[in-house]
């Protein structure tokens, strides 16, 4: 499958990036394609374009806070998870059924 994902934690110092790394690592392991945007203390990095989102099968929102530009995902099936889940149990996150 083809995923886009966003990670964002309260301080934006550590967990945002750990979750992003974990999603990248497990996507590879599970044979998925993924692009991960981080919204941390440095702002938005590796930003998802409309093209990225349109090309994806589902979006993973591993976020503990309100994120910026959430409307981009209005028309794509979504998997919602906490940052914690993405770090501690990424396989379960990928296994979840995306919802509109």
């Amino acid at each position: 499958m083809k995923f886009v994902a966003i990670t964002a934690c309260p301080t934006g110092v550590a967990h945002t990036y750990m979750a992003a790394e974990q999603l990248l690592k497990f996507a590879k392991k599970l044979g998925h394609e993924i692009k991960v945007e981080t919204q941390g203390a440095m702002g938005i990095e590796n930003e998802l374009t409309e093209k990225d989102i349109a090309a994806a099968d589902a979006a993973i929102l591993a976020v503990d806070i309100m994120i910026e530009k959430e409307e981009r995902f209005d028309n794509i099936p979504k998997i919602r998870a906490s940052v914690q889940e993405a770090i501690k149990n990424p396989e379960a996150v990928f296994a979840r059924q995306p919802k509109n």
Binding site: P10, V13, A14, Y17, M18, E21, Q22, K25, M42, Q84
Partner: protein
């Protein structure tokens, strides 16, 4: 017939003085015997005697039986039972919390509210020792004469009556809590059991005084055995009352506080005199229930580096003599009971402070220079020649203020010329050609000197003090001036004259000096003919005649405490207004700038002594002023030198110019905070890596990590960062699994972005529900205002790396800090 009523004691602290007092007041209205039986220990107490009731040790949930018999037993029973049912349970209200302001207990200090009390910090530090309640250790001067039973009894009765009315008189105008204590005293004075005990002893041919002492120790012994801390505290009330009674009979009891071992002194207040009469070697700390931060006792405490807090209400009643207490005047608390975890916390605190000291050690013997090469001499304030060696060892470049009045105050007699000469000479020799500024006698204001017999004044700070009294006490001052002039032959001695307000005064002193010098010449006694003579700038009038004063004086020293007091018309002893005399008010900064400019324009030297000279936060302003010297308490010297090294004179002058144009001291503080200058710290360094930590739990682990930042001078407020880490941890745990936890925070108190790495000897269980214990803690601390985000790439790279087992395994399997540092630098691409 007697009436009985059974009930369960509902009071959390048992029947201590206050509930007992309430019951006593009710029972006393009736002639019947009213007693209370404690079924637990079978003791029977007389309800009309507070002492009897508290001796019976009623505790929470004890079964109690009220027994009433006598003529009016029905009425008495009804009233007392009604009170027991309604109101008694509420008679136990706790003392109101005192001074709750800004005391923040770090999460790693696990302590219950009732185990400590708080106060206002005046001298920071940490001390663990036995407590000694001053003014309480009295040796009564009771004659052994016994006049006769009736006469002694009459003496006692008279003493009871007069003490009663004395206490009753003082009840008015007292705050609620103080009134309650006085009321408790009043009930002790009138207590029938006390009277009985004293009477018994007098009947056995003991005189009234000894009978009272005897009763005092009898009740103290009885109460010691009760299990309630609160009741044990009553011992002091009883001792107070008994002292009061003895004073009524024999006049003022000679109170003499003698320290025989290291201890933390606890008192209501201490005069400089009382303080100086204590054996200084044994004073490990000072806890005062009154006292302002600038009183002279406090200045003395600061000078000796004695940890001190003030405003600890009822300190003398809460703390017992001989009790082991911890005075933590970094936080502002006195700990009354120490659990194992509290002891452990203070072990870690000691370790932290020792590590921090090492950090500043390199500044001890280097001269203070700004980064752009401007010198500012950092000198020390002392009050005795014994301190001279101490201050030079701690990096003082001179003695900027030798306060001499303490020599006069610590002795009953005025020190002779020769005695003083020896003292000044000793300081001059210790200074080895570094300058020693000796200030002549500054008596008056809050510094009384009994032997001068000065009349009490309504406004002592505006009164007859310092240089103003010299002409009247010419003999005394001549002795001092002579001693200083003679000492000038042995080192770089300078003389400083306090409280000058007009030209006449300095002219008078200088004429006196010439007289003395001529006299010494005749006797062939050596002295330095060119000994510099300086003026304290503390009276505002001098600022307007600096041109004239510069013709008379060789140097000047700004006394900021008095100057601020006179500039703002604020009595610094008055708690309600003390804040108005803020050194950082733009008005005051303008005053200082004017002074320094005018003096420098005439080519003269100007330094600063007084509180402000030791304020680290004000350092950019002091450097910006272009002062030639600052003189401060010995302890802060390395810290101040380090601060000066990190500042540039050019930038500081600009900060000063901005500060002068601020509209409030608060704005000045923000300006200083925004311009905080810190040396360039690497994001990680070997001093932030510990590979053999003995932390026992996660709170200790975080404390240890934050303490590393403190020891490395990356923060001055480790406890606030600790709190921020725990605030973040409360959102959700930062334990990752794999044996790693990464607590982190953004903090305004961090001077540098930092990564700390700690490996534990024994893995730490981070969360109760998690099996996986933490072996490595990596703490990330990000500067709050780091808008540039200099190190964010490093932090995010670290976070990503941690998700990979090869990265984790390297850290788990290597124990050398150098190897770990190199590995982190490479993998995180830190240059």
């Amino acid at each position: 017939m007697s009436l009985e009523y059974s009930f369960i004691c509902p009071l959390k602290n048992g029947i201590h003085a206050r509930p007992a007092n309430a019951l006593e007041l009710i029972a006393a209205k009736y002639s019947s015997n009213v007693s209370l039986r404690n079924e637990r220990n079978a003791r029977i107490a007389n309800v009309k005697s507070v002492l009897s009731m508290i001796s019976a040790d009623f505790k929470l949930n004890d079964s109690c039986k009220l027994i009433v018999n006598g003529d009016d037993e029905n009425a008495a029973y009804d009233t007392v039972v009604a009170y027991l049912k309604n109101g008694f349970a509420e008679s136990d209200e706790q003392l109101p919390p005192v001074c709750a302001e800004e005391i923040s207990i770090p999460p790693s200090l696990k302590i219950e509210k009732q185990d400590y009390c708080t106060g206002t910090v005046v001298v920071k530090g940490l001390s663990i020792a036995k407590a000694a309640i001053l003014n309480n250790l009295f040796t009564a001067n009771i004659p052994s004469v016994f006049i006769g039973k009736d006469e002694e009894l009459a003496k006692f009765k008279k003493a009871v009556d007069s003490l009663k009315s004395k206490i009753a008189d003082s009840l008015t105008n007292k705050a609620k809590t103080e009134r309650k204590i006085l009321e408790a005293h009043l009930s002790i004075v009138s207590d029938p059991e006390l009277a009985e005990k004293v009477t018994e002893s007098i009947r056995a041919s003991m005189n009234a005084g000894n009978a009272i002492l005897n009763a005092s120790s009898y009740f103290a012994d009885t109460l010691k055995n009760t299990q309630s801390e609160l009741i044990q505290q009553r011992i002091f009330d009883i001792q107070d009352v008994c002292t009061g009674l003895i004073e009524q009979i024999y006049g003022a009891v000679q109170k003499k506080d003698i320290l025989v071992e290291p201890c933390i002194c606890v008192a209501q207040n201490l005069t400089p005199n009382q303080f100086l009469n204590l054996d200084r070697r044994f004073i490990k700390g000072l806890v005062l229930s009154h006292g302002s931060s600038t009183s002279h006792t406090i200045i003395l405490a600061r000078s000796f580096g004695i940890p001190t807090i003030v405003g600890v209400e009822h300190a003398q009643t809460i703390i017992r003599t001989g009790q082991e207490i911890i005075l933590d005047s970094n936080i502002g608390i006195v700990i009354l009971r120490q659990s194992e975890s509290v002891k452990r916390y203070y072990l870690l605190e000691q370790r932290k402070l020792n590590n921090r000291k090492k950090q500043y050690a390199k500044f001890v013997q280097t001269p203070a220079l700004t980064s752009d090469g401007r010198q500012i001499e950092v000198a020390a304030n002392i009050v005795s020649s014994q301190e001279a060696d101490l201050v030079f060892n701690n990096g003082a470049q001179a003695i900027g203020l030798f306060r001499t009045e303490m020599l006069y105050m610590s002795n009953d007699a005025i020190p002779s010329e020769d005695q003083q000469f020896e003292i000044y000479k000793k300081a001059a020799i210790a200074a080895a050609q570094k300058s020693v500024i000796i200030r002549t006698l500054d008596i008056g204001g809050d510094k009384e000197l009994q032997c001068l017999n000065l009349e009490p004044e309504a406004n002592p700070f505006l009164g007859y003090r310092a240089v103003r009294i010299y002409p009247e006490f010419e003999k005394i001052i001549t002795a001092q001036l002579t001693a200083i002039i003679r000492a000038s032959a042995f080192g770089a001695v300078k003389m400083l004259i306090p409280m000058v307000s007009s030209l006449d005064e300095i002219v008078w002193v200088k004429r006196k000096i010439i007289e003395i010098q001529n006299h010494l010449l005749e006797q062939n006694i050596n002295f330095n003919n060119n000994m510099p003579i300086g003026i304290m700038i503390e009276v505002p009038s001098t600022i307007f005649i600096l041109d004239q004063l510069c013709n008379e004086a060789d140097f000047f020293s700004i006394g900021t405490n008095d100057l601020a007091q006179y500039v703002f018309a604020v009595d610094r002893e008055n708690k309600k207004i003390a804040k108005l005399a803020d050194n950082l008010q733009p008005a005051f900064l303008r005053v200082l700038k004017t002074i320094v400019q005018q003096i420098h324009a005439r080519g003269k030297w100007v330094g600063m002594c007084g509180e402000m000279a030791g304020q680290i936060e004000a350092m950019p302003l002091l450097v910006g002023l272009g002062l030639d010297e600052i003189s401060l308490g010995c302890d802060n010297i390395p810290l101040v030198k380090a601060a000066i090294h990190s500042l540039s004179f050019e930038k500081c002058s600009r900060i000063l110019d901005s500060a002068i144009n601020c509209t409030s001291s608060q704005e000045v503080r923000s300006l200083l905070a925004a311009n905080q200058n810190t040396p360039d710290f690497a994001i990680i360094d070997t001093d932030l890596i510990v590979t053999d930590s003995d932390s026992l739990n996660k709170e200790e682990a975080v404390k240890q990590a934050v303490d590393l930042l403190f020891a490395a001078a990356r923060t001055d407020k480790p406890q606030l960062i600790e709190r921020e880490v725990w605030n973040r941890e409360a959102v959700y745990s930062t334990s990752l699994g794999y044996g790693f936890a990464i607590p982190h925070c953004k903090s305004a108190y961090a001077k540098a972005n930092s990564i700390c790495l700690i490996k534990f000897k024994n893995p730490i269980r981070w969360n109760p529900q998690e099996e996986d214990a933490v072996k490595i803690l990596i703490m990330l601390v990000v500067k709050q205002d780091d808008s540039a985000g200099t190190h964010m790439q490093v932090f995010s790279k670290l976070a990503r790396k941690i998700m990979h087992s090869d990265f984790r395994n390297f850290l788990l399997s290597n124990d050398d800090a150098g190897v770990i540092l190199k590995f982190l630098k490479e993998s995180l691409e830190i240059k």
